[in-house]
Assembly symmetry: C2
Homo-oligomer: 273 residues x 2
């Protein structure tokens, strides 16, 4: 199928064994294995819509048969979606080596190919949510995962960079990382992450560790509402005509005064100055 070409066009022609052509979709025969149930019909429809709008991004992989048709090696989902999208042709890499070798390669690549690691997933979700102004719910429907799953990936982005790196490197899993998020400050998160790697803790063990830490923290912080504080809050609330909270601890704290407009801010400023 490779034709003689003039200089300069050579760069367009791929290396040995790799030819890209637009093939009639109807000339492509899927694998002889039983027709596979699609992952999610809604996902296939989404892909079809995307293909309709932007075309097929990556060519499928086929091998040429003697009768002029082509065996589909990889990319069946794109092939089906392209058909659903109403295309009559699809870009395909045609393997000219014999079927045996190409099938081996395709299988091994398929089995081995890297998926995005959890940090990449998280960044991707973040990017998609912000770029397209989507809610988590909307994105979940597009990609076929639960909203909570997306939320949990997103939370990974709040970890200290050192911990994110441990996830990327697969030193800890996203399950560990999610549990580590429960530690109440970054330093503690780093400490727990390091302990997790050092001691080879399981996800359940990290969850338990964090649960204990939270329980201890709550125990030390638990104290009855200080009536004195309450009293001061109430007096200030009454006096200023808006809600006032006292963040009081260990003899010090903050007074938080709420306002809901510039007018009210002005009013408060007058009263306080």
């Amino acid at each position: 199928m490779k034709t003689a070409l003039g200089r300069g066009l050579d760069a367009l022609i791929p290396e040995k064994g790799l030819e890209i052509v637009n093939l009639q979709i109807s000339k492509i025969v899927p694998n002889k294995k039983q027709p596979r149930k699609n992952f999610k019909d809604s996902a296939l429809k989404d892909l079809a819509q995307s293909i309709k709008e932007r075309g097929v991004i990556q060519p499928i992989l086929v091998s040429k048969k003697n009768d002029g048709s082509f065996n589909l090696i990889a990319g069946e989902r794109r092939w089906r979606a392209a058909s659903m999208a109403g295309l009559s042709k699809i870009p395909a890499v045609v393997k000219s080596v014999d079927e045996k070798d190409s099938l081996e390669i395709a299988l091994i690549e398929n089995i081995q190919r890297e998926n995005l690691n959890p940090m990449e997933m998280a960044s991707s979700f973040d990017y998609l949510l912000n770029t397209y102004d989507l809610t988590q719910d909307a994105l979940s429907q597009r990609i076929g995962k639960d909203r909570a799953t997306i939320a949990n990936y997103m939370r990974l982005l709040k970890l200290p960079v050192e911990v994110q790196k441990l996830v990327s490197e697969e030193s800890i899993s996203m399950g560990h990382a999610r549990a580590i998020l429960g530690a109440d400050n970054k330093k503690k998160q780093i400490d727990v992450a390091r302990t997790t790697v050092k001691k080879g803790l399981s996800v359940r063990e990290v969850e338990e560790l964090i649960r204990e830490k939270v329980k201890i923290k709550k125990k030390t912080e638990k104290r009855p509402a200080d009536p004195h504080v309450k009293d001061v809050e109430e007096r200030l609330t009454s006096s200023l005509g808006t809600k006032v909270h006292l963040k009081h601890k260990g003899g010090k704290g903050k007074i938080e005064i709420e306002y809901y407009s510039l007018e009210e801010l002005d009013r408060l400023l007058e009263m306080l100055t």
Copy 2:
């Protein structure tokens, strides 16, 4: 980058937005995210070797930057392996739409793409083992999965077709299916599979169900070795000069006589006729 071409060559040029070129590997910049640790170095080396022998099967996906270099969108493993293989150029699909859209597409395709279902995995392993005369151990090293994992996939091929279909359709998982294999005949396997679907049993529940069935079967079959049978076996073994087993049950059975060469077969035939 698309050049005017004569008639006939047009078919070689892909549709809108899809251009295939051989790019200098050094001109391709991987994603700005932190460099990802490879899935398995040995797997990457295998891929590099495969690329050395057969070239890159599928082009990588890149987007063009204004400074003449290219951002790597998908196919980093192949890009790294090609570099390891000593190639200076790699076939690439160049996305000419703006980066935002192409990233969305690539991400969604990456997240959503279908992996082989367990029956396809099993068939693939079977094919590779037989076609290349590999041991399970050799294949396990090639694809980065444990030998026992491959063995367990292969076992799925021994299920009744009806049960295999349930796995393909994801009505039951390969975990269920593996457990179902423990049922001692095909009919029972089908029965358990149907029960599993009907009652929505978990893998642990199916394992337990089979364990109980095996236990019951062993209980009903457990009986002391019949000295009569042993005696007959010994007499026959002595008489024929080779090992003889009696498969005796419920008043009937089979006599199994072992032989290790055509000569011995001849000898036995003479004695038995």
